[in-house]
Amino acid sequence: MEQQLSYTLDSTLETVDHAEESATRIATELGFGEEEIMQISMAVREGAVNAVLHGNKYAPDKKVVLAFERTADDLVITIRDQGKGIDLSGIPNPLAPENLLKTSGRGIFLMRSFMDVVEIRPSQSGTEVKLIKHVHGPSVGNKERSQ
């Protein structure tokens, strides 16, 4: 991939699939291992689901911006919606015994489980989620660094 890549997408289920597929392709191109590719693609899928479903609520006039950036040390993925901004204090711990049998509320937990850094910045004009996966070893992406 180029150093930066950005998509502006509709608030649809197709966007969720597109986000996941893009993440899989880019993580593969950068040389991440099979397990890490799965983790990155699933984290991006969960972020896209939140943006489309909970952020933009499928509104046709609202967009999701998905951006990938390869820095020296990281793959940085940003997902931004145009919703009202997520209330982080209202998200229960999905591992608490009283929440185990809830049918939703695991998306952010999975993102945090699979990525090295997850930053969530809600605002009145939308929520921005930044997902960071560290590049491990010289074989990933930037071969020049090993030479």
Binding site: L13, V16, M38, M42, R45, E46, V49, L53, P94, L95, L100, L101, K102, T103, S104, R106, G107, F109, L110, S113
Partner: protein
Amino acid sequence: MKLSTRQVDGVTIVDCSGRITLGEGSVTLRDTVRELLSKGNKKIVLNLAEVNYIDSSGIGELVSAFTTSKNQGGELKLLHLTKKVHDLLQITKLYTVFDVKDDETAAVKGFK
């Protein structure tokens, strides 16, 4: 996602293949389990051997299938988890909530 059902000694085995994700996959699973329960099929095994991907919505549907079955006097077990699904149920602490089996005969015999 594709689902097919078969009967083994009074137990309904639901063979699932593909992805259980937000949208079609989750809805298909939900509808199938609810239809089985409404027709009196209270002993259900979800065979997930061919399920290669599941997201948080899919996990939610498995939980929903489990609790709906229980609330209607039924019982639901999971069979043949792939590594991906197994790992997801581990990190979400659901592995011990579900009754997970590796052997179909044992799963069928395991119903009360």
